[in-house]
Symmetry: C2
Subunit: 241 residues, 2 copies
C-alpha cells in the first residue's frame, strides 16, 4: 500500500515487520494445546512442539510487544506513529482479532450460528488485521490522506479480509496438509463454524468470488491505480495453500 | 509521578490504566497451567480456573493490546504518546518482562544461578515495568524533562523494582496464602531461584533495606520533592502482602 502511494520511506519495512510480528504472535498462540492444539504450521512443527508450551506462550506475548516496539522505534513523525499505533491496537484487541477468536471459541460446537454471526466473527478474527495493514500503509502516505481514498481502501480491506477467510475455510476442506503447511481438515474435526459448513462448498466458492469482486470494485474507487494491491488481490484469487 | 510533577492532565488516569492492564495481562498468563499453574490470585480463583485456559490466554493477549490501545486513545500530544509507547513496549518485551520470564524458566531447577544473574532476571521480569511506570509519569510532565531528574527517577525505579522483587521472595517464605492473596511457598515448591534461596532470609532482608535506601537517595536527587513517590516507597517498606 505504502509503495502504491509512492511512500519511499525506509520505515515502511519496519511497519511491515511489525505487522508480521503481530500476525505470527497470533499463529503461535492459536496453535497452543489449549486453543487449536496444532502441531504443524508453515510446514514445520509448531513453536510449542519444539520449545514447550511455556516458551511458546512467551514467544507469542513477546511478538505482540515486538510489533508495538518496532512501530515505536521507527523514525516516522509522531502524529503518523500515533495513527499507526491506534490502527494496530484497535485491530488486534477485544474489538478485533482477539475478540473474534473468543467468539470463535464460544460458537465452537454450536449448531445454530448464522451467516451474519460468522461474518462478524471473521471480520474481527481475520479481517481486522488485514484491513489495518492496508490502512496503515495508507496512513504513511500524504497522498492517501483524503476521505475518499481512505473509504475505498477500508472497503477493499474489509472485502479482501473476509474473502481470505472464506478461502481458508474452503482450502481446509479441499486441500491437503502438505500443500497448506498446516493440518488440513481441522475445522471439521473441531466442529468449527465455517462458511463451507454453513453454505456448502459451491456456495462458499461463489461467495468468495463475490467478495473478490467487491474488493476489486473498491480498489477502482481510489484516486490512483494501485498495482501492488491489485496483485495482492489476484494472488488471493489464485491461492491454493 | 505525574501528580508529583504537577501533571493535572486527565489522561494520567488512562496511562495508569494502561499500565495496570499490561500488569494484569502478565499475571493472567503467569498463572496459566503451563507457567506457574496457580489457582489463586488477589484472593480469588485465577482466570483460567474460572473461564478455562483458552479464554485466559485470550484475556491476557487482549489486556496487553488494551494497554497499548488505551495509550493510543489518550488525547496527549503525539510526541509524548510516542515516548510512552516506546517506554512501555521496551519494558515488557524480550528485553524486559517477557524476556525475564523466559530466563526465569531457564534457571528453574538450576542450582548454579549467581546473584548477578538473579538480579538481571528480576530487573527484567519485575523491575522494568516498575521503572517504565515511573518514567512514563515523568514523560507526561514538561517539568521533568531534564536529564538529572530523569536519571534520578530511573535509579529510583530500578532500586524500587528490585526491592519489590526481593520482598516478594521474602514474603513467599514468611507470609501465608490468606495474607498474600496468592499461594505462598510456591517458589520453593517450584525450585525457583530466589533471593532467599541464594542469600538466606536474613541477608535478603538486609539487601531489601539497602535497595530501599538506594531508592530513597535517588529520590532526593530530584529537583523537587516527590511526596507520592516517597509514600510509594514507604508503603513498599511496610508491605506484608
Amino acid at each position: 500500500v505504502a509503495e502504491d502511494f509512492g511512500v519511499e520511506d525506509i520505515w515502511r519495512y519496519d511497519v511491515a515487520a511489525a505487522l508480521e510480528a503481530v500476525h505470527v504472535y497470533s499463529l503461535v498462540h492459536d496453535d497452543l494445546p489449549c486453543m487449536d492444539n496444532d502441531i504443524l504450521r508453515r510446514g514445520k512443527p509448531t513453536c510449542h512442539v519444539v520449545y514447550g508450551e511455556a516458551t511458546a506462550l512467551l514467544v507469542g506475548d513477546s511478538l505482540q510487544t515486538l510489533g508495538f516496539e518496532w512501530l515505536s522505534n521507527t523514525g516516522l513523525n509522531a502524529p503518523v506513529k500515533s495513527v499507526l499505533f491506534r490502527l494496530l491496537a484497535h485491530a488486534i484487541g477485544i474489538n478485533g482479532m482477539a475478540g473474534g477468536q473468543q467468539l470463535d471459541l464460544i460458537f465452537e460446537n454450536k449448531a445454530d450460528v448464522t451467516l451474519l454471526q460468522l461474518e462478524s466473527i471473521h471480520r474481527m478474527k481475520t479481517g481486522a488485521l488485514i484491513e489495518a495493514s492496508i490502512l496503515m500503509g495508507a496512513a504513511m502516505s500524504p497522498l492517501a490522506q483524503n476521505e475518499k481514498d481512505n473509504d475505498a481502501l477500508r472497503s477493499f480491506g474489509r472485502a479482501l479480509g473476509l474473502a481470505f477467510q472464506v478461502m481458508d475455510d474452503i482450502l481446509d476442506v479441499i486441500s491437503d496438509t502438505s500443500l497448506l503447511g498446516k493440518t488440513a481438515g481441522k475445522d471439521i474435526a473441531q466442529n468449527k463454524a465455517t462458511y463451507v459448513k454453513l453454505l456448502g462448498l459451491e456456495k462458499a466458492k461463489f461467495y468468495f468470488h463475490d467478495l473478490n469482486q467487491e474488493a476489486c470494485e473498491a480498489l477502482q474507487q481510489c484516486s490512483r491505480p494501485l498495482p501492488r494491491l491489485l496483485a495482492l488481490q489476484r494472488w488471493l484469487l489464485d491461492r491454493t495453500f
